[in-house]
Every structure is written in structure tokens, then in C-alpha cells.
């Protein structure tokens, strides 16, 4: 983390650090494998539709497309395991290590440290969810001020942690169905089929409508956000999406006098 400056200047504009190159690379592997899985899986799920056959043929047809699908699934599962280990290592280094140095290693402190991680949902997220609905329904004129990771980003982040444990084992069971039948009855494959196809539909619809809205379709992002490539957010994006974090970073960098009020699209909120 320390090798990245919290704020960098490019062409006179302030950019705020978000993701390391390592994290961005993991994201590239994640979305590439998910896209390939969707392109090779959905023609099969909707085989009766007129678009399915041409798309499946384009992806290799009935001989090659299943192999590509399984290869992409293997990559995604491997990434899931890798990222979990990466997360555990970071947690140990940054949180358990700190407790050890301070000789405060207790169960309670470990739990507290766990929930203090930037990606783990906490009480502030619950407050922010209630707050955003109040704001969207015009019961307050103040939008929530998000920390480094907003509740929506946490939902995006934990979606694979909910989806992959459902899709992955079901996919493996359907792939190795003959071998699997030696330890489980065949009806488990009926369950695996529903798990795999329906969870995949939910994942793809969520990615297409919700995640892509956040990073592609939203007016200020269209046609695409660049943070996944550069690792940095602009000052306007930080103010709009992570105002609490923006204020914190500006104060930490001694730029307190240059903190801008929370605004969006040139309109300052009536605080």
C-alpha cells in the first residue's frame, strides 16, 4: 500500500489512490473469466432462443465451448482461492500483526479488527443504506458521505463471495458428474443444475444492470470508468462517491484548507 501516494497530480488535477496494480490485475482476471463464462454458458442456458446457436458456434460450438467454459470456471475458482488467501495475508499483516506488536491479541480484538477492514460491511453501511433511501425519497436533502468503500462497492465485492460458492461446486459437480455420482445421488445434480443456472442468471443480470450502471451507464461514468485501469479516482468522483474518505485523505495530506464542499454536477448540496 505504501508504495502508492494517496494523492497524485496529473495535468494539474488531483487524483486519489484506490487500487494497487495487483488488485487491478485480479479484477481483470475476474471480469475476463466471468465474461467468457457468460458467453459460453448463456447460449446453453437459453439454447432454444434464436441467438443461442450462432453465439455458441462463435464461442467454439458444442465441442469447444464447454471446454472453454470449464477452463474459465477453473480460472475463476483459482482466483477466488487466491484472492481469499491474499485477503487473509493482508489481514494478518495489517491487523493481527498490529495487535501482536501491541500485545493485544484477544478474540474480541481480532473480531473488532476484522470488521475494521475497509471491505467488510459494518454499522456505517447499514446507516448509509437507510440514509440513501431517505435521500432518494426526498426525506432529506443530504446524500450519505461514504468512507473508502461504500456499501454498494461492498455488495459488488461480496457478490462473488456469495455467487462463487454456489456456482463453483455446482459447476464442478455437473462437470465431473460420473465421478461425483460415487459420493452423491443423482438428484443432487438436479439441485446443482438449478443452483448453477439460476445463480448465474442472477450474477449476470446484477453485473449487467447494477454493476455496469455503476461503472458504465451512469451519466458521469459513460462510456466507462477508468479506475479499474489507472487505480485512481478524480477529485470530483471522490467528492461524489466517497466524501468522508475524501475529507480524511485531504486532512491527512495537510490540504484541509482546500477541501471542497460536497457537491454533484456543479450543484452544491444544501448542508
Amino acid at each position: 500500500m505504501s508504495k502508492y501516494d494517496p494523492i497524485v497530480y496529473k495535468e494539474g488535477k488531483r487524483l486519489f489512490y484506490r487500487f494497487s496494480a495487483h488488485q487491478r490485475l485480479q479484477h481483470v482476471v475476474l471480469f475476463s473469466s466471468v465474461l467468457i463464462l457468460a458467453l459460453t454458458g448463456f447460449p446453453l442456458r437459453h439454447a432454444e432462443e434464436s441467438w443461442a446457436r450462432p453465439l455458441y458456434d462463435l464461442m467454439g460450438g458444442t465441442e469447444l465451448a464447454p471446454l472453454i467454459h470449464r477452463a474459465a470456471g477453473t480460472v475463476l475458482l483459482a482466483l477466488f482461492v487466491y484472492h481469499t488467501i491474499y485477503w487473509m495475508v493482508l489481514f494478518y499483516k495489517n491487523h493481527i500483526g498490529k495487535l501482536k506488536r501491541e500485545k493485544r491479541v484477544t478474540i474480541g480484538n481480532i473480531i473488532r479488527e476484522f470488521f475494521s477492514q475497509e471491505m467488510v460491511p459494518n454499522k456505517k453501511d447499514l446507516i448509509d443504506i437507510i440514509h440513501i433511501w431517505k435521500y432518494l425519497l426526498y426525506f432529506t436533502n443530504r446524500p450519505p458521505r461514504h468512507e473508502r468503500m461504500s456499501w454498494r462497492e461492498k455488495f459488488d465485492y461480496f457478490a462473488p463471495y456469495w455467487g462463487i460458492p454456489i456456482l463453483g461446486p455446482a459447476g464442478v459437480a455437473l462437470w465431473w458428474r460420473d465421478e461425483f455420482s460415487h459420493i452423491m445421488p443423482g438428484i443432487v445434480l438436479n439441485a446443482a443444475y438449478i443452483m448453477h443456472t439460476d445463480e448465474a442468471l442472477l450474477a449476470v443480470l446484477f453485473l449487467f444492470f447494477v454493476h455496469w450502471y455503476n461503472v458504465h451507464y451512469a451519466p458521469e461514468k459513460f462510456p466507462a470508468a477508468t479506475v479499474w485501469l489507472t487505480g485512481y479516482l478524480t477529485e470530483d468522483e471522490m467528492i461524489h462517491e466517497h466524501y468522508a474518505d475524501y475529507v480524511r485523505v485531504m486532512i491527512e495530506q495537510g490540504l484541509e484548507d482546500q477541501i471542497q464542499p460536497q457537491h454533484f454536477g456543479g450543484k452544491e448540496y444544501d448542508w
Binding site: E48, R145, L205, W271
Partner: protein
């Protein structure tokens, strides 16, 4: 033959007057003037002299429009190409001829079946069919109800085509192998004998029809809601098409199991499809595991693979596991998507009035929450 006839003669319902004989004479005369030397192998009587014309047709006594055009190219691609027309249309003995009787596929034709040195007939197929679920007779030999629902040859079979393949240096290709046929033709030099037998044999080394054709053939009856109601059957075709087997076939696979792979005991005659309550049936509860584990299918699977349910209707009583899982996933999907889509919609709307509020919060709070 009746089988051959089905693709060559198309029946279209059309209530018109019957053609008179003089028109037939006129047609015959027209054919004579446009005579060409073209003709297929079995056409010793020169039937295609008239039947090669695409418009050769009439309205029959039932008011049906009947087309008598023979597509020679198609006919020459199938196993009946060596039959003479008269082998099947036995009642035709003069030209121009009277309306011909329906072809009986069970009659003997001129071809000699080499293993028994007897005249060939599809009689054995009929005998097998009568042992199957598709027999119009019950165990006591009495007609079953709804006789019209039980299939004859033409209900499942169109004009069959050869699907030969060649195999050279490990690569499987469609069509006759020039290298393979050259070995036959070294001795079998007369006519198309070598080609006929090459196609006859290699076509039978794989499925004679594309799996999707087989499914569509079964679907003609089994996907008809009225047929299902008459025989108290589920929509097995739709439920099959929802399985990975069905989906892969819809996408063009020939390696996945179609109806016949699961409903005919390995090695049995394809026409012997028995109901699931018959003890010798491929889908009898105790036989399913053997059917799934037949060679080239799930050979390595354990017997308990058989508890996989193929024709799932998502009926709460019959398939509670699938029903509740499906409801659970749909509910989850609805909750997640409606929550976020509503949020996105309201957020886009809010951009028009970012500072408006029914309840004005006057608190000047610059603290980070």
C-alpha cells in the same frame, strides 16, 4: 414404399373439385414432350418421366391437394434408391395410371435380404413395434382407445437419407471415403454396388438421423397438449429440452443422449420403446442405472446416478426439491434486482433535483459521518 413416399408427396388440405381423367392424359402428353433421359436407378418404368415435374398434382376425392413431384436428388440420397417404383406402388400397372393405393411398408420387395436369402420386408419392424408402448393393440390383442394416436411408419419416418462417413488418419468426415471405396471397387465393379453398400454400412455405424430430428419426430405427438391429456402424459419433450442433454442437442451436438438413447435398451431394436412400468423397459426404475451407464454414455458413473430426474415439471407435489429451489432462487433474484433497479431509477431521477427535500435538514454539519 410408403416411407419413401412421404417426402415426395406432400398433402396440403384444400377443398377443390376432383380432376378429371382428360387432364391426366394432358399431363401425360406434356410429359412425353418434355421427356429427358434423366432417371434414377430403380426407375425402370420411367415414372419420373411425369413425376419429375414440380407442378404434378391434383385434388383428391377428399378435397386434399396432393403433389406427386419426386425430387430425384433427394430420392437418390436414400436407401430406397435401388427399389423399383413398382416394388412399393404394386397396384400401378399401366401409364397413365389410376390413383394409387397407399403404400404398405410391410410388403415384400424385390430385394433379397442376404443373411436369410429371403425377400426384404419391414415386417419385423411392425412386429417389434407391436411389442412396444406405441402398439395400437393392448396385451390381449384388442385395440387401445384413441387408435388415431398410435403411430404408423410415416408418422415417425420421412424419406430416410444416407449419412455416410469416412475415416482417414484419425479424422472423421461426412461422405464417402474415396480411399475406402477404391478397395471395394477393385472387385465390385458393376454399377453403384460399392457406393450403395459403403453408404448402407457406414450410415448404420452412427445414428441415421440427427438427434434433433428424432426429438422433433417424438414431439409431433408428445408435445401436443391434447395428446398428453388423452393419454395422461406429462410434456416430456419440453422437460427434456430443459436438460443439458436437450440443450446441447438444440445447439447442434450429436454426442448427447436423445429420446431413443434413454428409452431403448442398448442393443435392442429402436422400435421397441416400452413404458416405464414395463419391467424390461430401459426406463423401468430398476433399469435406469444400467441405461445411464451404457457404453459411450455415463460408463464411469455409479448406480445412484439413476436418481437424477430428467423430466422435471417443477410441480410442487412431484418435484418438491426443484420446486422450492426454483422459488427460492427466483425470490432472491427478484429481491436483489428490484432493490437495485429501484435505487438506480430513483437515483437518476434525483439527479434532476439533487437538493430538494420534503423535510429540510437545516443542520450545518460538516463533520464526517
Amino acid at each position: 414404399m410408403q416411407v419413401a413416399h412421404s417426402v415426395l408427396i406432400r398433402d396440403v388440405g384444400m377443398n377443390k373439385h376432383v380432376m378429371t381423367k382428360w387432364i391426366a392424359v394432358f399431363v401425360f402428353s406434356f410429359c412425353m414432350f418434355s421427356y429427358s433421359n434423366a432417371g434414377f436407378a430403380g426407375d425402370e418404368l420411367n415414372c419420373v418421366l411425369c413425376h419429375k415435374h414440380r407442378g404434378l398434382s391434383r385434388i383428391d376425392e377428399d378435397g386434399k391437394f396432393r403433389l406427386f413431384y419426386i425430387n430425384q436428388e433427394l430420392f437418390d440420397s436414400g436407401p430406397h434408391r435401388r427399389n423399383k417404383c413398382k416394388d412399393c406402388h404394386t397396384d400401378i400397372d399401366k401409364i397413365p395410371h389410376e390413383p394409387a393405393r397407399k403404400v404398405d411398408c410391410m410388403q415384400e420387395c424385390h430385394m433379397v435380404e442376404p443373411s436369410g436369402n429371403i425377400k426384404f420386408s419391414h415386417k419385423t419392424v411392425e412386429e417389434t413395434l407391436h411389442k412396444s408402448a406405441h402398439s395400437p393393440l393392448d396385451e390381449d390383442g384388442k385395440p387401445k382407445p384413441h387408435q388415431e394416436d398410435y403411430p404408423g411408419c410415416k408418422d415417425c419416418h420421412d424419406q430416410p437419407f444416407y449419412r455416410p462417413f469416412s475415416f482417414y488418419k484419425g479424422e472423421l468426415k461426412a461422405g464417402v471415403s474415396k480411399r475406402g471405396i477404391s478397395r471395394c471397387k477393385g472387385c465390385h465393379t458393376n454399377g453403384d454396388f460399392a457406393e450403395d453398400f459403403y453408404e448402407h454400412i457406414t450410415t448404420r455405424l452412427r445414428k441415421s438421423r440427427y438427434p434433433m430430428e428424432t426429438i422433433k419426430s417424438c414431439a409431433k405427438c408428445h408435445q401436443d397438449p391434447e395428446f398428453q391429456e388423452r393419454h395422461d402424459l406429462d410434456d416430456v419433450v419440453t422437460t427434456y429440452m430443459q436438460t443439458f442433454h436437450g440443450k446441447m442437442i438444440a445447439l447442434g451436438s450429436e454426442k448427447t443422449a436423445d429420446c431413443l438413447d434413454c428409452h431403448v435398451v442398448e442393443g435392442e431394436n429402436t422400435h421397441l420403446i416400452e413404458g416405464k412400468e414395463v419391467i424390461t423397459s430401459a426406463v423401468y426404475k430398476n433399469n435406469v442405472q444400467a441405461t445411464c451407464r451404457t457404453s459411450e454414455c455415463h460408463e464411469k458413473a455409479a448406480a445412484q446416478l439413476a436418481s437424477y430426474q430428467t423430466h422435471v415439471t417443477y410441480d410442487r407435489e412431484k418435484y418438491p426439491l426443484q420446486f422450492y429451489m426454483l422459488v427460492g432462487f427466483k425470490a432472491l433474484m427478484a429481491c436483489v434486482l428490484y432493490f437495485f433497479l429501484a435505487l438506480i431509477f430513483l437515483e437518476l431521477l434525483r439527479r434532476l433535483f439533487p437538493c430538494f427535500s420534503f423535510i429540510k435538514d437545516k443542520k450545518q454539519d460538516d463533520e464526517v459521518e
